[in-house]
């Protein structure tokens, strides 16, 4: 068939003819609904064309859009350019409901959803997301003939309120008002988007009948801008409705209006910024995979950057990981193993991010990744968290190092710990990659180990720093021991992230193994390995917290995995760091982890890093793995993970150095420490 010029124009900017409507407050000229400015979004060109034709037949002003992003752009660029939006539900680039939310939040236009799907739940979704109508495809022209009612409805509400609602701005406001009226949606009033949706439906009904009801505030652009200015002035944290209201100084605006809008706005921000937002607030809330990528990526340690990103990542990822791994044990503080838990990449719940203030926090929330799998040190949760972060990075390192080991290590560490770790441990077998997802999974150990190690090594505070640093450096592996003082696990020069974890694990394992790292609260950070590196007290790593209760017995065997943990055993040797390194070792069983760890303990010498790491399995798998490794006596004692700064960093660095760090190029930016070289 010859295709006559089928116009496939995508979008045409709305002509201005429609604007006439807008200018008049009521805009309802005689022509109405003719000239109604409709934006149609659908990825199917056939449907799009048909709709355009139909709408034109209704005398509307039509703009077509093939994809949601483009539609949003259009809408944003021309806030008052449209009266109503019709969108398909299933679109490749963005879910129709998501688009719906955006529009509602940003522009508050009535949106009609369409789909060939007429299942009840889909329609319900439309309702809950705030669509003002839902059309089943194929759409008939009769259905389109009436869409103007939605516009009027909104306008009605808006018109009623303009004076009172905040959308009043003399002058343009007038115009705006009408526009606002269009957009006014009951939901607008600061409700969260969800609420908005519900509200929207309600509002519609209410609008019609509620002359008596409090008029809805139409959050016009100007009003919103005023709102934003006030918020920025006050600072997002300090922005309380009352103050905002005062600053805005809009007559007729009530505190409630502002409050609901603020809530909505916050949600919106959160959504936009995802991780970053979470930083502080969301630490815990991150558990949800808000940023799935975040978590996953970071977990993998690949996103060391993410980790480094203000440690939020860790938190987030932790959260994610945790969620993933643990099935969302959000912010479950790793109890027993502070470190471990935290470190545990797996369990991102770093309950106690004792570590660094910030960083660890994140970690804490997640679940302390038992990074230190083997590190029975009493790494504080924070440390764990740090480790966690590092674990992640380590994880990555481990990948390099032994990929498996690293992961395992954390597991091991975790093993001793509680469940979260268990998960991880179980994962021991999983390689680092797995960590990210299973954060909880021992794979995380890398991270954890990092963190853990850190913890043990450095005082919590240090660790934090360490972590922070580490993360920044992307992946804990920054162990390049920035903080020499900080025993931050980071210092595990695991080079490879994964390796790092290994290291930690190793260290831990060793410690644990020997010192019987108690699983509780993190294993005593027997980063023996580290000890070696730094005879300091790093031993205080309470890796125990890590929960690496690796059975000493186990460790002996587990060392196997560690081989890869090239994490310089020396590093691990650090007190209490049972070189959980097993990096390679992440053998499947926690016990193995323990073993490794133990082995680390045993041979905590640098060479043993491997041992440590290997408890991979044991680490995580069994909580019972007691990393009895003798945690470096000094280190193990404390609950605070890094009571003294174990030279975790040193350890790490040492380890890494040993390896000659060539840090794997892993994402973690480990300073080129390649754990691989770590002589085990």
């Amino acid at each position: 068939m010859n295709l006559s010029n089928v116009k496939g124009s995508t979008m045409s900017t709305p002509s201005s003819s429609g604007s006439h409507l807008r200018s008049t407050g009521d805009a309802v000229s005689d022509q109405f609904p003719a000239g109604l400015r409709v934006l149609v979004v659908d990825d199917d060109p056939t449907c799009l064309m048909i709709l355009e034709k139909m709408l034109k037949a209704c005398l509307y002003e039509v703009t077509k859009c093939k994809c949601a992003e483009a539609a949003l752009e259009l809408l944003r660029g021309n806030k008052n350019g449209f009266d109503i939006v019709i969108s398909d539900v299933h679109m490749p680039d963005m879910d129709g409901f998501k688009l719906l939310e955006h529009i509602g939040l940003e522009m508050d236009l009535p949106v009609i959803m369409m789909s060939a799907d007429d299942g009840k739940h889909v329609v319900m979704k439309g309702v809950t997301h705030g669509a003002c109508d839902y059309l089943i495809k194929p759409v008939r022209i009769e259905a389109l003939k009436n869409i103007w009612q939605h516009v009027v409805r909104k306008r009605k509400t808006g018109w009623r309120d303009p004076e009172q609602s905040g959308s009043i701005d003399e002058g343009d406001r007038q115009q705006k008002v009408s526009d606002d009226a269009d957009y006014s949606s009951s939901a607008n009033e600061g409700k969260s988007s969800k609420k908005r949706r519900d509200e929207e439906e309600d509002a519609d009904e209410r609008d019609d009948s509620s002359t008596l009801k409090k008029p809805r505030v139409v959050w016009s652009v100007e009003l919103h801008q005023q709102f934003m200015a006030a918020v920025n002035q006050l600072g997002i944290d300090k922005a309380v409705p009352k103050k905002i209201l005062e600053l805005m100084n809009v007559p007729g605006l009530t505190r409630e209006n502002v409050a609901s809008h603020l809530q909505k706005y916050r949600l919106y921000l959160r959504r936009l910024s995802g991780v970053s937002q979470q930083q502080n607030n969301l630490n815990n809330s991150f558990m949800n995979p808000q940023d799935p990528t975040f978590g996953s990526t970071s977990i993998n340690g690949i996103d060391l950057q993410a980790l480094s990103v203000a440690g939020q990542l860790p938190a987030q990822s932790l959260a994610k990981l945790q969620a993933a791994g643990l099935g969302r044990s959000t912010a479950k503080p790793v109890m027993s193993m502070p470190l471990v838990e935290q470190r545990n990449l797996f369990s991102f719940e770093s309950p106690k991010l004792r570590f660094g203030e910030g960083q660890m926090q994140h970690l804490n929330t997640n679940k302390p990744i038992n990074l230190l799998h083997g590190i029975p040190t009493n790494m504080e949760p924070k440390q764990l968290a740090n480790l966690h972060q590092s674990a992640q990075s380590l994880g990555n390192l481990n990948m390099r190092i032994n990929a498996s080991v690293a992961q395992r290590s954390p597991l091991l560490m975790q093993m001793g710990q509680s469940q979260p770790r268990g998960q991880m441990i179980g994962e021991n077998g999983s390689h680092v990659n797995q960590l990210p997802t299973s954060l909880l999974q021992p794979t995380v150990p890398n991270r954890i180990s990092n963190g853990v190690i850190r913890n043990g090594i450095a005082s919590s505070s240090n660790i934090n720093a360490a972590y922070n640093q580490v993360p920044q450096s992307s992946s804990f592996l920054n162990f390049p021991m920035n903080q020499t003082n900080e025993m931050s696990v980071r210092s595990f020069p695991l080079g490879s992230h994964p390796g790092i974890s290994n290291i930690t694990t190793k260290g831990m394992l060793q410690e644990e193994v020997t010192s019987g790292i108690k699983g509780s609260s993190g294993f005593v950070p027997n980063y023996d390995i580290f000890n070696e590196l730094q005879p300091q007290k790093s031993q205080d790593w309470d890796l125990t917290t890590a929960g690496l209760t690796y059975d000493a017995t186990q460790h002996s065997n587990h060392v196997q995995g560690n081989t890869d943990v090239s994490v310089s055993p020396s590093v691990l040797v650090h007190p209490g760091f049972t070189s959980i390194q097993q990096t390679g070792q992440n053998r499947d069983t926690t016990s193995s982890m323990g073993k490794d760890m133990f082995s680390i303990g045993e041979g905590m010498d640098q060479g043993n890093l491997q041992n440590i790491s290997q408890p991979q399995n044991p680490l995580l798998v069994d909580n019972s793995v007691r990393v009895k490794a003798e945690r470096v006596p000094d280190a193990s004692s404390q609950t605070n993970f890094f009571p003294e700064q174990y030279g975790q960093e040193d350890l790490m660095s040492a380890l890494l150095k040993q390896e000659g760090i060539g840090l794997a190029e892993n994402e973690f930016d480990f300073d080129g420490y390649s754990l691989d070289n770590i002589p085990v």
């Binding site: 068939m1 010859n2 295709l3 006559s4 010029n5 089928v6 496939g8 990825d43 199917d44 060109p45 056939t46 449907c47 064309m49 048909i50 034709k53 139909m54 037949a57 299933h90 789909s115 060939a116 799907d117 495809k137 194929p138 759409v139 008939r140 022209i141």
Partner: protein, 151 residues
């Protein structure tokens, strides 16, 4: 009479398409959209449909090649799109096959999917031919008055 001849033929053809269950009400809707500006609107749409849906068809075909490890979700999604398109032009039988296909996807019936898909392709191709013939005749007959509903 000659003038109405082709018209009557066109009408008859259209009637027959409806009788065979190949087209449904939506087609009429499209015809009603034709106007002076777009006298051959329906033809344009159908052309666009066949052009666009062909890639969907090949995607589905490709996906079905994984004989034993069919990704039913993906297939369902693709088919959903295809169904939406087909229903917009009023392709009744094609649409029915789509529905059937999706059912099979839901139940994870690979055999059913493949068989249905074959059937679907046949219907799809057959409709295309018939519509082509129809449009050709319609063009010859000259612009029709408003679309007349088949009985």
């Amino acid at each position: 009479m000659e003038r109405s001849q082709p018209r009557r033929q066109v009408a008859a053809m259209k009637q027959s398409l409806f009788d065979q269950g190949l087209l449904d009400e939506q087609f009429i809707q499209l015809e009603e959209l034709s106007d002076d500006a777009n006298p051959n609107f329906v033809e344009e749409i159908v052309t666009l449909y066949y052009r666009d849906s062909s890639r969907l068809i090949s995607s589905i075909e490709q996906a079905l090649k994984e004989r034993h490890t069919l990704d039913f979700n993906k297939l369902d999604t693709l088919m959903h799109q295809f169904k939406g398109s087909s229903s917009s032009i009023g392709a009744k039988k094609v649409k029915a096959e789509c529905t059937l296909f999706r059912e099979y996807c839901r139940t994870g019936n690979a055999e059913g999917c493949m068989k249905t898909f074959q059937q679907l392709k046949k219907e799809y191709a057959s409709l295309r031919k018939k519509l082509e013939a129809y449009f050709q005749l319609a063009r010859q007959a000259g612009p029709m008055e408003t679309a007349c509903r088949p009985k």
